[in-house]
């Protein structure tokens, strides 16, 4: 009770709310994201008390992760890496005139995932972090590789094209200095700027936003039909829709929480993996990509569930689950606190207060989103000839703000072109982006495993566990698929 009261002071509530609103703006604008927002307020928190500082940061964190869905649904431009998968079904739904619905599904799935994972954090943190300890380089490599294979195989009828897109993603991820030792420079052509590789945010803006802008030029002066937006205060999804998708959201949340626990995987990977998982097990997989509710529920619950997930290893092991939690750990250190195995025991009140602030931040985030849906949806009524120049400006400033490097703009255009060409020729974009997200993890952890076990074969055989099983699956699945495919072709031919 004391814990709850300590968070529920006007000051703290105001800070959480301010964090959520600012975070939402950062999340919505492509290029600005949670790590940037949190790093920006870090110096401010230095002079604050511990709990208010935490409240502000948690508000920002939750606001950012879910803010990305707004631009993903309305413009097909993911505001953050977390909402890449939301574009797949959110945008088609918005295009068919159901923008407010799509936004309310997204907001509901977000709070569901966020609350689910914070409950996990409260009840299961020590147990889950023990599970995360069992995850070594070999297991990281195996999980990431299997995810890529699954995303490929799942795209029925397009497997070869998906594979090409995937390899292209992996290839572009190799640009820059090699992981672990940093000695070899790959495909840098002597250009200093390429040594650190391509930035994920720039790539996302490149392959999602630019092709969309190019497409829109074709009918830029087309009249937009004003959408029938009912004037309501809150836009809640229909009860029946929630009931039908409850299982999807629970699964997405579990997946998101677990991926959040694993350092380095991130919310982008979580939502993409959850999306492919949901599509594979859905009763109507053919509806995915055309604007189905399930497609929004599954990825938005997963990406918000990573927030609580990422806090679990940070609070119980001192191992941050993602970039934002790494900065939060820094903020705690500035307050003289070191998260680690003793943190929850020595600072029990604070530990619970942090979790409770995540709770409150999620609720605020939800309330803020469902009340602003009405205004957000208005974006779709703006004439494209006004809207897209502004979107372009935001994308460019977003890219520039990452490193203040004009070189980023050059490869933004190149990736825009790659995205356009892939899209135009029917190559799916999701394997490309997932390969780019996971490529670094795969390479780094493969190298670490080889250092540990000397050879690849040794790695498979010694310490035979789920890691090795995943690797074998990843190797077998494409072969099985290939054989099946050839058989089917023969049958057709004969």
């Amino acid at each position: 009770m004391d814990v709850i009261m300590s968070v529920l002071t006007p000051e703290n509530l105001l800070l959480i709310f301010a964090g959520v609103v600012v975070g939402n703006v950062f999340g919505t604008i492509p290029g600005l994201n949670a790590p940037i927002a949190v790093a920006l307020v870090l110096p401010i928190t230095f002079s604050m008390e511990t709990l208010p500082a935490i409240c502000l940061i948690m508000g920002l964190y939750m606001g950012c992760v879910s803010g990305g869905l707004i631009s993903a649904i309305l413009l097909k431009i993911p505001g953050t890496a977390a909402s890449i998968a939301t574009t797949f079904d959110g945008y088609p739904m918005a295009k068919s005139g159901r923008a407010t619905e799509a936004l309310s599904y997204g907001a509901f799935a977000s709070i569901f995932g966020g609350i689910f994972s914070s409950i996990c954090l409260l009840l299961l943190a020590p147990w889950l972090s023990k599970m995360a300890i069992g995850f070594g380089p070999w297991e990281y490599f195996a999980t990431a590789t299997l995810s890529l294979v699954l995303v490929c195989v799942m795209l029925r009828g397009k497997v070869l094209k998906a594979f090409i897109a995937l390899c292209l993603g992996l290839l572009l991820k190799t640009v820059g200095s090699s992981p672990v030792d940093g000695v070899a420079l790959r495909y840098t052509f002597g250009n200093y700027n390429l040594e650190s590789g391509f930035n994920l945010i720039v790539v996302i803006i490149g392959v999602f936003a630019l092709p969309e802008i190019i497409h829109s030029i074709k009918n830029i002066h087309a009249k937009v039909k004003p959408m029938p937006v009912k004037r309501r205060l809150f836009y809640l999804p229909k009860l029946s829709s929630i009931k039908n998708n409850l299982f999807t959201m629970i699964r997405g949340s579990i997946l998101g929480t677990f991926i959040g626990i694993l350092p380095g995987m991130g919310s982008g990977a979580a939502s993409l993996i959850s999306y492919s998982q949901a599509k594979r097990t859905s009763k109507n997989p053919e509806k995915f990509g055309t604007g189905c509710e399930e497609g929004i529920y599954c990825c938005e619950s997963a990406n918000n569930a990573t927030t609580g997930g990422a806090l679990i290893p940070m609070l119980s092991l001192g191992v941050p689950g993602d970039t934002v939690t790494a900065i939060i750990m820094g903020a705690l250190a500035l307050q003289g606190l070191t998260p680690g195995p003793l943190f929850s025991m020595n600072n029990e009140m604070l530990f619970r207060a942090i979790i409770f602030s995540v709770f409150v931040a999620n609720i605020f985030m939800f309330l803020y989103q469902i009340t602003t849906i009405r205004y957000m949806a208005k974006i779709t009524e703006v004439l494209k000839s006004y809207l897209y120049p502004w979107v372009t400006v935001f994308c460019v400033t977003g890219v520039i703000s990452i490193k203040n490097n004009v070189f980023d703009l050059l490869y933004l255009m190149v990736f825009g072109l790659i995205g356009y060409i892939l899209d135009k020729n029917g190559y799916p974009i999701s394997p490309f982006i997932l390969a780019f997200v996971l490529g670094g993890i795969i390479e780094e952890n493969l190298r670490r495993s080889i250092i540990n076990y000397d050879t690849f074969l040794n790695a498979v055989t010694t310490n035979f566990g789920f890691g090795s099983v995943f690797v074998i699956l990843a190797a077998l699945l494409p072969i099985i698929y290939g054989i099946n495919y050839i058989r089917k072709e023969r049958k057709h031919g004969g």
């Binding site: 995360a132 069992g134 090409i164 672990v180 070899a184 191992v319 680690g340």
Partner: protein
């Protein structure tokens, strides 16, 4: 159509593999060194230590790594106390990028030499320079002083068979190259493991750890031990998960007097394995400005509150005069050039 798709797929796969087979980059750094002939004119007659120098602009300390990191946190605390004794504001900004913080250093190198911009020097600078990754040295900057001292610790799991450092060395001797010690490759702990190995004539397996994910590798039993900052492993030692076999310093760490220091363990020349941080100013910064900042650093380092805040995170304040620090940097650079052989093996 099908065939064309297959060909495209094959080509892309080949390119991915080609990336893996890329030969190591030519390591030879540019040997021709530009000798800076411009000497700061003000530096000649800076005999009097107490001048009436008053800074006209706020002082910015550039931390070349991300906000909230192990380099950033002590810098922010220290800047707070420097500001306490100064008439102007002292603030920390983060300029990240490049290799081992080179982007931040470059920014300061090219800044106006008016004493308003400093870079916090991490131990990565001399190290990266010795490995041929960074193309600048302490000679391209004006040395200001040292302010931070922190200690590395060697840890194993509490339930491991290695009760002492000698156990670990004996095991490595019995089974060369099989005892795995973790560190982030090419960082100070990496050098520390190589130094232990070379002084005791043993060879460890050098496991690579992720920057943010070190403790779980040891907790999960995938490495036999690792080296990291005392501040980072302290919690695990307190909680009884880890056993600390030694701290790489010559004085005992407060609160952990029972842990043997490297001096007690009989190691020599481990002075360069301390995680120290200093301040550098752009070349040509007037002597008065440098002395003024050095004095601020002295006052902050001697501030009891500041020392207490540092101790909380297992750091220690440190102070050196400009001359001492310049000599220290000279020695450090020389040592790392010598020790780089441990890494490159040439």
């Amino acid at each position: 159509m099908k065939l064309r798709n297959l060909l495209v797929a094959a080509a892309v796969v080949l390119l991915v593999f080609a990336a893996g087979c890329n030969a190591a980059r030519d390591q030879a750094p540019d040997t021709e060194k530009k000798t800076e002939s411009e000497q700061p004119t003000a530096g000649k007659d800076g005999e009097t230590r107490e001048t009436n120098y008053v800074p006209s602009k706020d002082i910015q300390i550039v931390v070349p790594f991300a906000a909230g990191g192990a380099t950033d946190i002590p810098a922010r605390i220290f800047a707070k106390y420097m500001g306490k004794y100064s008439d102007v504001k002292v603030e920390v900004i983060n300029i990240t990028g490049g290799k081992g913080g080179s982007a931040g250093a470059k920014e300061v190198q090219n800044a106006k030499p008016d004493g308003s911009m400093l870079v916090s020097q991490p131990v990565a600078f001399p190290m990266m320079s010795a490995l041929g990754v960074q193309d600048y040295t302490y000679e391209d900057f004006e040395m200001v002083g040292q302010w931070l001292n922190s200690t590395l610790a060697v840890v194993v799991r509490a339930d491991s068979v290695y009760e002492t450092m000698d156990d670990l060395i004996a095991a490595a001797k019995a089974d060369p190259g099989q005892i795995s010690m973790g560190s982030v490759t090419s960082t100070l702990p990496f050098f520390a493991i190589l130094e232990i190995g070379s002084q005791r004539g043993v060879e460890f397996k050098m496991a690579d750890l992720a920057q943010t994910n070190k403790s779980s590798e040891l907790l999960g039993g995938r490495v036999d031990g690792y080296v990291d900052a005392m501040g980072a492993v302290r919690q695990f030692v307190d909680s009884g998960d880890f056993r600390c076999l030694g701290v790489i310093t010559d004085v005992e760490v407060a609160g952990y007097e029972d842990i043997p220091t490297f001096e007690e363990l009989g190691f020599e020349n481990f002075g360069y394995l301390k995680q120290v941080q200093g301040m550098w100013a752009p070349k040509g910064t007037p002597k008065e400005a440098i002395d003024y900042i050095n004095n601020l650093m002295k006052l902050a380092a001697e501030d009891e509150e500041c020392q207490a805040e540092f101790a909380e995170l297992a750091y220690k304040t440190s102070y050196m005069t400009v001359e001492e620090y310049t000599q220290f940097m000279k020695d450090t650079y020389a040592t790392f050039v010598e020790k780089a052989v441990l890494v490159t093996g040439e």
